[in-house]
Amino acid sequence: MKASRNAIYGGLLLLPAAILLWTFTFQPILTTIYHSLFSTPRGRRPAVFIGLDHYETMIADPVFWRAVSNNLVYALTTVPLSMGLALAMALLINAKIRGQALVRMAYFTPTVLPMVAIANIWLFFYAPDYGLIDQLLRPFGLSGNNWLGNPETALPALIVITIWKEAGFFMIFYLAALQQISPSLLEAADLEGASPWQRFRRVVFPLLMPTTLFVSINAVIGAFRLVDHVVAMTKGGPDNATTLLLFYIYQVGFSFWDTGYAAALTVVLLAVLMLIALYQFGYADKRIHYR
C-alpha cells in the first residue's frame, strides 16, 4: 500500500522532466530516424518509404565524406589543443601569482562572448591586407594572405578561433579540480623529494583525470555541435574546406530543402555522439574514478 503510494509520488515528481525530455529530445530523435527512411516530399509528391536509400546516397556523397574528414581534423586538433591550453592556464592561475583575478577574467572572456560576436572579431583579424594578422606580418613581407578564402588555411583558421574560445571555458573546470586537491597531498609529494614536474606527472595529473575525461567528452561533443562561426564566416567554403557535419546538415536541410536526407545525416551524427557518451559512461568512467 505504502510502497505503491511512494511509486505514485515518485512518478508524479519525475513526470514534468520526463514530459519535457520526451517531447523535445526523444520524440524528435525517433521522428528523425523515421523520416530518414522516407523520401523528401516535394510539391504534390508525398514522402514514400525508400528504406536505406538515403544512407546509400550518403556513402556515395563526396561532400558528406569531406564534412566527416573536416570534422575529424577539427575535433582532433581543437580538443587536445584547447584542453592542453586550458590545463596550462589553470595551473598558472592556481599558482599564487599577483593579479590572479584579472588573469582569470581575461582567460574567461572569450567564453562569455557569443560565437557570432567572436566570428566578427576574427573576421577583422583574418581580413586580407588590413586585418590584424596581415598587419603584423607586413614588416616581414608576408602580407596579402586571404586566411579564410584559401582552402589550405580556412579550416585551420576556424580551428584557432575554436581553441581560443573553448580553452577559457575548460580552464574553469580544471581550476575547480585543482582547488579540490588537498594541499597535504602536494606537501607529501614535496617531502618525498618530487620535482615540480614529477609532482604534476605522478600526483596532480592523475587526480585531474576525472575532470580531463569530463572536459574531453564535452569538447568532442562541442566539436560536432559548434558551427555558428562556419555560418558567420565561411559558409562551408571555399570548396567545402570548412564544411563540418552539422553545417552540412543545416545546408542540406534548410538551403537545399532535402529534409529526408538531412534526417539521415542527423541520425549518423546522433549515433556518433551517442557512441562517445557510451564510451564515457561505460568504459572510461570506471577506469578513472578512484572513489
Binding site: A188, L191, R291
Partner: protein
Amino acid sequence: MPGIEVDRLVKEWSGTRAVDQVSFKTGEAEFVALLGPSGCGKSTTLRLIAGLESANSGRIMIAGKDVTESPASKRNLSMVFQSYALFPHMSVAENIVFGLSIRGVAKADQNKRLAAIAKLLSLSHLLDRKPSQLSGGQQQRVALGRALIAETPVCLLDEPLSNLDAQLRSEMRTEIRSLQRRLGLTMLFVTHDQTEAMSMADRIILMRNGKVEQSGEPHELYERPASTFVARFIGTPPMNVVELTSSFQAAEVGQNAPISSSSPVLMGIRPEDIQFSDSGLRAVVESSEYFGADSVTLCQAGDQKLLVRTPGRPKLEAGAAVHLRWAATSAHYFDAESGLRCDPPRKELRLQQA
C-alpha cells in the same frame, strides 16, 4: 647525533605570532610529544621543522645539520600527515614506495624494502588495494609505512591518531611506540590529547600561545607542573587549582599554607591526593562520576569546587557533608598573577600537616 634541535623559532602571520621563540632539543631515538590545545602553534612548529613553512627567524638543526634554509625533501626526515595524505589513485604498494621511486631506487631494492615494511605493519595482504578500500586504521598504517620506508632518522607525526576511534587509537599507540623503539627513530609527535602524550612520549613539550610552557618527562609535568596551565592541562580529571582565600585558611588544611607575601597564592592539588576524612576542610558533595576503577566526586568547599578521586564506586550521596584532607607534600603553589609555580611561603608551618 640524530635528533632535532630548534632554536628560538619564530613564525608570524600578518602580525600574529603562531610560533614565538620556541627552542628545544630531542635526543637520539627519543619519542617526543608536542602537546597543547588547538591553536597553540604545535602543528606550525612541526610544519616549520618539516620545511612545509618557512620560519621568520630562528634555526632548525636535524641530525646536527642546519636545515633552516633547506627544502623539505633535503631535510632527511619523513612525515605522517593528520589526514594521512595518501594518493587516492595509487595502490597501497605504490603509495609506500612513492618516495623510493621518485629518488630512483632500483626496482628490486624497492620491492625488498616494501615487503619488509608491509610485514612490519601487517599490510602484506592489502598491497594491491586503493586507499579508499581501506579502514581508517589500515590507512594510518600505510601512511606510517610510507614514512618508515624512507629509513630517515627523524619521523614527524601530525596528530596521526585523531581520525581513529578510541579502541583503534590505543592499539595504534602501542604499535607506533614499539615501532619507534625497534627502529631507533627520533619521533616528534604532535597531539592535543594529553593521555596520548603521557602514555607514549619519553618527553613532552607542552605549548601554549606559541610558546613552550614546560618541557620534560611525563612524570615531571605531572608531578611538578611549572604553571597553573600545565597543572590543569595534564591529568584527567585535571588538578584542582583553588584560591587560597581566608576562609580556606581558617579551615584545618588551609592554615598549613599561609599566605606570607602580598600577592595572592593559588594552591593546586591532584584529585587523587585528596582523601575524605573525619576532620579537615569542610565541604559538601555535589555530584559524582563513576569510571569503573575509580570515581570522581565534585565537592563544594566555601565558594570553590574541588574534585576528589577515590577508588571503586562512589560512596557518597549528593548533599552529604564531608571533610577533606591531603598531605602537605602533595600540594602545589602558584603565583596568582603570573600563574607560575612558586615555593610554599612558610616551610616551618607545613611540617604540621605531614
